[in-house]
């Protein structure tokens, strides 16, 4: 089965053509890949469609297209704005119909979700969360965002989770005011890459091992992850993103989540239970694109 996928980012659109097992058991094979810079919607969408049309000549027409997009996006199927990028500050992109545009141009069924929900789907189908029906996928980088699976399905609800914007209790040794333009010291305002750079005056990637920044980062993330555990009871938290992939960080946060829970959830605080509770994604750099393919595959097989 041929599947088309787009990881629609604020700086570039990553495009892929996959050959996928229709049962989804095996990781899909990437047949072709390209990128298009995110300039104006007209240009970026047209160039992207051109890639898929050219590839269809070689591999046959795709069965479906999956799009994991930067946001905010409208996901409510009943809304006339379903498949749109809505209130983005990105010039020219506000209220842009993405999913509908590709559906009409390529005459394909289109699955559309947030970039992090797509990545979560990919990890569930082919990666670290295979067989795990309740988990969080979170990316800590330029921003903090995540997807939630409950009972084997992506959670949408009223809109979609916005895991990066919760307001946790502050640590007494931390008086940084935070940089989120909406909430100040929410998780993203305190622990994203730009927050780290702002707080310490050094970029996260340049902060050495052993710098107090990493201890504080781990504590802030652990407190937020404890909140996710208390609200949604995940079995696993997958931590990705430029900051999240820092070697050793997932392991450190795993241990600290137990400290935050202070023995309250017996199933979580049994000896050894939190080992691996926070883990790195297994799809690596192509998680977003493969995840978009996973969205499309779910659409075909549902």
């Amino acid at each position: 089965m041929i599947i088309a996928a787009i990881e629609a980012g604020g700086t570039k659109f990553v495009l892929g053509i996959y050959r996928a097992d229709c049962l989804g058991d095996k990781a899909p094979e990437l047949l072709a890949r390209s990128t298009v810079p995110t300039t104006s919607p007209e240009e970026t969408l047209s160039l992207s469609a051109g890639f898929f049309e050219a590839e269809a000549e070689k591999h046959g027409k795709a069965e479906a297209l999956g799009i994991g997009s930067f946001g905010p996006v409208e996901l409510q199927i009943s809304s006339p704005e379903w498949g749109w990028i809505t209130a983005t500050p990105k010039p020219g992109w506000r209220n842009t119909d993405i999913a509908g545009w590709f559906r009409r141009r390529l005459a394909l069924p289109v699955a559309f979700d947030t970039d992090v929900n797509a990545a979560a789907c990919g990890e569930h189908l082919w990666g670290r969360a295979r067989g795990v029906d309740n988990f969080v996928y979170i990316t800590v980088g330029t921003g903090i965002g995540g997807g939630l699976f409950c009972g084997g399905n992506l959670v949408h609800g009223l809109a979609h989770p916005e895991l990066g914007h919760i307001l946790s209790k502050r640590f007494p040794d931390d008086s940084f005011e935070g940089i989120c333009p909406y909430h100040g010291d929410c998780l993203e305002g305190l622990a994203s890459g730009p927050a780290i750079a702002n707080r310490w005056g050094i970029k996260a990637e340049d902060l050495p091992e052993g710098h107090p920044a990493w201890d504080l980062e781990a504590r802030i993330l652990a407190r937020a992850f404890a909140t996710y555990a208390l609200v949604a009871s995940p079995e696993l938290i997958i931590l990705g993103g430029g900051v999240g992939l820092r070697p050793g960080l997932a392991e450190k946060v795993s241990l600290l989540v137990g400290k935050e829970l202070a023995g309250y959830i017996p199933a979580m605080t049994r000896p050894g239970r939190l080992e691996g509770f926070v883990a790195r994604p297994s799809l690596g750099g192509e998680a977003g694109l493969a995840g978009s393919a996973a969205l499309a595959l779910r659409l075909c097989t549902e």
Copy 2:
């Protein structure tokens, strides 16, 4: 269809026999009801079983028994302790097999869950959350606990949600240290009935309308509910319990949730959208017992 139900509380077991529509469309009819004090497990369980045996003579044998229990409880089906009350401080009740005991004694299939999950099930099947597939049910009283529905199903995951124990950012005008023995100033430590009494020196039920306690209570709850919205994206939060049912509180919290989100979730912050976002339960005083019946009915029809 005849259904047996137990609301297993720390001070009493409420017992009920219902006649229920097997499709679950109509609210069930309560045929008989009794209560048994929670003394020793031997006595309380035996007296409860006796009630069901006597009622079976009159109405015929029940098809299933649903139990909504005080906790902590073990809900993992694969665990040998499934259906037990585990690490409770209640004398004599630690590691007590409840579900298995009734299954053997009454020779019935038994559905077992937390008291709040049972109440959430009842509200989903017959109450306020009918047709709402993503919602939170939360009770604010002696403690704070809740259940989470995502995609039409109760969320269990690793254990079950413990909504009352999240640590939110403190309000600057509030320096109360909190009373939770595990976490100090978690939600339960700051906003449960005993926390209110401890903070103001007056019992919650005696605090008059207009007392600053209610403004602070609403803000604390709204911040926690905003966290639930950001993590699990519910369409509705049902607020019950002795404190939660205070007239006007749900409406006040609804409005404040929008303030906490600060415009971040467009689907939630559209004008009017948060009206009724936090609402009172509709099953009233029998929510716990009816919810336990709902658990049993789900078991029969799944």
